[in-house]
């Protein structure tokens, strides 16, 4: 999809010929995120829709106890230290960002009075700064007023490497100034098209200056408020036992009228995903359970009890296979899979193309994941229902055979194809996880029919995903021919997500295998376009660039997308829960309510 086509579509939205929703879906289809689509529309003069979040109660309180079950317990409550989504969600009960992302890619103001735009002078032409206006009259749980000083403080706190905040990436390249008590300006060192990162969403939660000011840097761990949060959120802290339970009670001074609905809230943790699903869907002991990594068959059965339903929202997470572009068997300068080598088999485009045709994505979706994943041909996600020029995937053994035959890979006596004495045989690894092993088996079977011998390898997840520089079995070492895993896209902007194919980011010995380009894929054109996209302020042009980047990755067949993995949760039947795939599960906790 070219820039012109994008402009035509936006014009259609502007004149009302096309709905905002279908535009967003089209953008997702070509591999963009919903928030990015929203930004494009905003910049082209289509205002961000005022998201109508359903909320019926006419007064705060009266809802009793809200029971939430996380099968991995919350371990800490400082949003700047929150590594996993469980901890981010725990913090979100008490802390709030300036704005959050809804499912359609709209920014929804929380502590901000309004979303910055050119019209309200929040954004500048040069893309070098953003001005946020803060909501007035917001109070911390201890009665202190929330002001611009708090916002500035969060930037100072998080960007300090000594603090060891996981949110550092959102703050380290920016500069934040206070304009007046309720206005702050974020200044970037270079033109930044995606300005809604700092103070927004997951890593944007604001902690109070008056309680954390003495604990910046190396002393960050000693702050008493790490365990006893004082925020601006809808619930006030009551009790926290790390690894077990978080409890809160209604905040009588909450800044949104008639909210929250529940009098008390608790997030219990521990156990396993299946029994958590059971507690919500079958026995009704709990109201909400997070991250249902449970086979769809079981979920459907449990839903049969009628106590609750499974809620599925789209995200940018993707399960994919990568083929090694380097030779994992050869050792160069003390490391294997060095970018100086070429993979003996996969360097032939015909082999990669054949493997792409041998992945039966439809069956993997249908028989293994069910509702909890959908097949895709894009690396940046895409629902199968929207057709797009480059999002086709095909499962065709004959065609794969024909391609290999034409490229000179002839079948030997053992049924395995070979060329120049090199047999078509490779090792395919992934982490230990039942659906992944089933997927491996399906692909191995199809490859066999095309004369490719696949050896399967599975590594314990704690090893596979570790950052241990000494262990050759981690996914970043990639001392293997092919591997499969799920990469998450927590950031609504694809900028950070797509840097994992930049040539200079290749994982190697020098960077202790911390480089994000694990496949070691090298492509000059990709690098160039990415550099341009980093500077491009026109949202539409930038979107077109990301579509191009996606196409480059996908059509080269080193990266073989399999399935989009949505967010799956279990929700009690009478509970209304606005979820978003681009923000935390509890991003709208203030608006949760129960139908009576």
């Amino acid at each position: 999809m070219q820039e012109r086509e994008l402009r035509d579509l936006i014009a259609d939205v502007k004149t009302g010929r096309m709905s905002r929703r279908s535009f967003v879906q089209q953008m997702i289809a070509v591999g963009l995120t919903a928030p990015m689509a929203g930004m494009m529309l905003a910049q082209s003069g289509v205002a961000m829709a005022q998201t109508a979040i359903p909320y019926k109660p006419t007064k705060a309180g009266g809802g009793g106890l809200l029971k939430i079950l996380y099968w991995q317990a919350v371990t800490l409550l400082n949003p700047h230290f929150a590594v996993g989504t469980k901890d981010q969600d725990g913090a979100r009960v008490f802390y709030e960002p300036l704005a959050g992302w809804d499912q359609e890619g709209n920014l929804v103001p929380v502590l901000a009075a309004e979303i910055p735009s050119k019209e309200n002078n929040g954004l500048t032409e040069d893309g070098l700064s953003v001005v946020w206006k803060l909501k007035k009259g917001v109070k911390w749980h201890d009665g202190m007023p929330f002001t611009a000083d708090d916002v500035v403080f969060n930037w100072e706190y998080a960007r300090n490497p000594e603090t060891a905040a996981v949110s550092i990436a959102s703050y380290k390249d920016a500069k934040v100034d206070k304009i007046d008590d309720f206005t702050v300006r974020v200044t970037f060192s270079k033109p930044t098209p995606f300005w809604a990162d700092a103070f927004v969403g997951t890593y944007g939660m604001i902690i109070p200056k008056h309680l954390f000011a003495d604990y910046i840097g190396g002393k960050s761990r000693d702050a008493p408020a790490n365990l006893k949060p004082v925020g601006t959120g809808p619930y006030v802290f009551v009790d926290f036992k790390p690894g077990d339970i978080v409890r809160g009670k209604l905040n009588p001074n909450y800044h949104m009228p008639n909210r929250p609905y529940f009098d008390t809230i608790e997030i219990k943790g521990g156990g396993d995903a299946v029994s958590a699903a059971r507690a919500v869907l079958q026995t009704g002991e709990y109201d909400y359970a997070w991250n249902m990594q449970v086979e769809d068959e079981i979920l459907t059965k449990l839903e049969g009890a009628g106590k609750g339903k499974v809620s599925i929202v789209e995200t940018g997470n993707i399960e994919f296979i990568m083929l090694n572009s380097t030779d994992p068997a050869a050792e160069v300068d003390g490391e294997r899979a060095s970018v100086k080598t070429k993979h003996p088999l996969f360097s032939d485009p015909a082999v990669r193309q054949a493997i792409n045709l041998l992945i039966d994505r439809a069956s993997i979706e249908k028989f293994i994941y069910g509702r909890t994943a959908s097949a895709t041909a894009n690396f940046l996600n895409a629902p199968a229902k929207v057709r797009s020029t480059n999002t086709k995937f095909e499962f065709n053994i004959e065609k794969a055979n024909a391609i290999l035959e034409a490229a000179g890979w002839k079948k030997g006596g053992d049924g395995i194809r070979a060329k120049d004495g090199k047999p078509l045989r490779f090792v395919y690894q992934t982490s230990i996880n039942a659906p992944r092993q089933k997927t491996q088996a399906i692909i191995k079977q199809a490859c066999q029919k095309a004369g490719i011998d696949v050896e399967l390898k599975s590594v314990v997840a704690s090893v596979f995903f570790s950052s241990d520089a000494a262990n050759p079995d981690t996914y970043t070492h990639f001392y293997c021919d092919a591997q499969m895993y799920n990469t998450t896209m927590t950031q609504p902007d694809p900028g950070f997500f797509m840097n994992q194919y930049l040539s200079w980011r290749a994982a190697n010995k020098e960077n202790k295998w911390q480089g994000r380009n694990v496949s070691r894929w090298q492509n000059k054109e990709y690098d160039e376009i990415y550099k341009q996209a980093e500077q491009e302020l026109d949202a539409v042009k930038r979107a077109a660039m990301f579509i191009k980047l996606n196409d480059l990755v996908v059509t080269d067949n080193y990266i073989q997308p399999l399935l989009r993995r949505p967010k799956v949760s279990a929700v009690a039947g009478n509970l209304t829960v606005p979820l978003s795939g681009w923000d935390n599960d509890l991003w709208q906790i203030a608006n949760w309510y129960r139908e009576t």
Binding site: Q72, T75, A164, K241, G271, S275, S467, D468, T488
Partner: protein, 319 residues
């Protein structure tokens, strides 16, 4: 006696030191690292992960890390959890009451079942009662707690809907209602642990009583015309229980271990579930501390068993 205890404690020190060294090295060599979750998260740049590793000293040589740990431990500093960034001792202390309650109640239940059943079975060996008790005891200790736990959940929580299967420390009720709710949620885990223990205790009590009941002094007591109840309680059980007491003491660490699995199944926030979640998160300081506490428990209860044994049986002397 005082001298004996002192000597035993001094001997215990090197063994604890050895245990700690082995645990530490094993954990250091084990794969995985606490920041694995950051690895697949595209929002966290690799430099941050690297900085965290350096800050928490994970990249230093094992030996230096061990010495650092030991020095801190001797000063009472248990280190802090990588996952929750709070002190480990605080984390463990929060969990101890729950584990003590569950393990303690299950031990009481186990003894309350095992003592009468074992003694009665020994008084009438090979009677119908004895055979039924034996059968149940065998079934009891052949079924692992993770199996019986799930079985009970399936029957009482899911099919019948009588009992909750998520254990909560804070129940939003007061007075009698609170006690009732607490009792309801504790029934399943305590019976799972308690009955498993009761099975092996029953066998042990039975054989201990059987050994004593045939001795001459018991016959003498009977021929003096004492009634059967008095003979059993005053003369038989008193002597037969000496080895049982030591067995219970020796079993205590094992019971804590058995509670690990049960705690996980019922989501009981005890030490065991802390250990499991720490292992899953590769939170080495917590794993180290909890396993070390278990090691201490073994050493202490061994010492306790020896002391109690000598105190109950004056024929044993301390040297």
């Amino acid at each position: 006696m005082g001298k004996y205890i002192l000597r035993r404690l001094i001997i215990a020190l090197p063994s604890l030191l050895g245990i700690s060294l082995i645990l530490f090295v094993l954990l250091a060599l084990a794969p995985g690292d606490p920041f694995g979750e950051l690895a697949t998260n595209s929002n966290v740049p690799p430099e941050v992960r690297e900085a965290l590793r350096v800050k928490f000293g994970i990249d230093d040589p094992i030996f230096i890390r061990y010495l650092r740990w030991l020095a801190a431990m001797l000063q009472g500093d248990w280190g802090f959890s990588f996952a929750s960034r709070i002190n480990v001792d605080q984390l463990i202390l929060q969990r101890v009451p729950t584990t003590l309650f569950v393990v303690g109640s299950s031990q009481i239940l186990a003894l309350a079942v095992a003592l009468p059943v074992g003694v009665y079975a020994a008084m009438r060996p090979y009677s119908i009662f004895d055979q039924i008790a034996n059968t149940f005891a065998f079934i009891g200790f052949s079924l692992p707690t993770f199996f019986t736990g799930l079985l009970l959940i399936l029957i009482f929580s899911i099919n019948l809907g009588w009992l909750p299967f998520v254990y909560r420390v804070d129940i939003p009720a007061t007075g009698w209602l609170w006690h009732w709710e607490y009792f309801k949620q504790a029934i399943m885990p305590i019976s799972v642990l308690g009955l498993f223990q009761a099975a092996s205790y029953t066998r042990y009590v039975r054989s201990a009583v059987l050994d004593v009941i045939r001795l001459d002094y018991v016959t003498t007591a009977r021929s003096k015309g004492l009634n059967e109840g008095k003979v059993v309680i005053k003369h038989v059980v008193r002597n037969a229980l000496i080895p049982v007491v030591t067995l219970v003491a020796l079993q205590m660490p094992a019971v804590f271990g058995g509670a690990i699995v049960t705690e996980q199944i019922f989501r009981i926030p005890g030490i065991g579930s802390l250990l499991i979640s720490a292992i899953l998160a590769n939170d080495t300081p917590v794993i180290m501390a909890v396993t070390f506490v278990f090691a201490c428990l073994v050493v202490i209860f061994n010492l306790l068993a020896d002391i109690i044994y000598g105190w109950l049986d004056p024929r044993i002397s301390y040297r």
